[in-house]
Symmetry: C2
């Protein structure tokens, strides 16, 4: 976990997940354990370098566990820790808002077409 915190809880949260990639990683891992390659594909387009760096950062912050299997070919699995899982309410709120927003945009486009 991070020791340097802001006095403001919102800012504290921002320190940990103020990042497009981290939010997307969270979204994926909330569905369950995933391998490196699975993550890469499901997130969309991320270079391995970027994905790795963000996963490492989330490990340091205690959000993600990394399990290495001594196999050939190699397998590495990423899982949310309890702390990482506790971010679910935020993701849920984002999902709810995004859903509403999409509906409003769709409605607006429809009205525009009817003019």
């Amino acid at each position: 976990m991070r020791d340097k915190l802001s006095a403001c809880p919102v800012e504290t949260t921002l320190l940990v997940i103020n990042d497009r990639w981290k939010v997307l990683i969270l979204r994926e891992l909330l569905d369950g354990t995933k391998r490196f390659g699975e993550l890469r594909k499901s997130i969309g387009t991320v270079s391995p370098k970027v994905l790795t760096s963000h996963l490492r950062s989330m490990e340091e912050d205690g959000l993600v566990d990394r399990e290495i299997f001594a196999e050939v070919p190699p397998r590495v699995e990423y899982t949310l820790t309890e702390l990482g899982d506790s971010l679910k309410p935020i993701l849920d709120a984002m999902k709810d808002w995004g859903t509403d927003y999409q509906a409003k945009v769709k409605l607006k486009l429809k009205e525009t077409n009817e003019d």
Copy 2:
């Protein structure tokens, strides 16, 4: 509002508020209307350029209203729209999580000192 959306609600939300500054602006404006200078001070340290550009972006996204008063000295007030206000649950979730996180860190530091 933005017309280009992602299929994923979470990503849609990220398009609008995936930004440290925007979240902080939201936090401030959820308390009510504020002037440019007030925002600047309460957010911490932001150059006027950066604050302006983010406010403009949020205006375009329909989150913020900007009201100009023809006075000397000039006064400009920023207020959340209904859409902007509807982001409150996300901010609340972030606040809750940040509060818990701060408590955990404090507890951990205490334990460390007692060792």
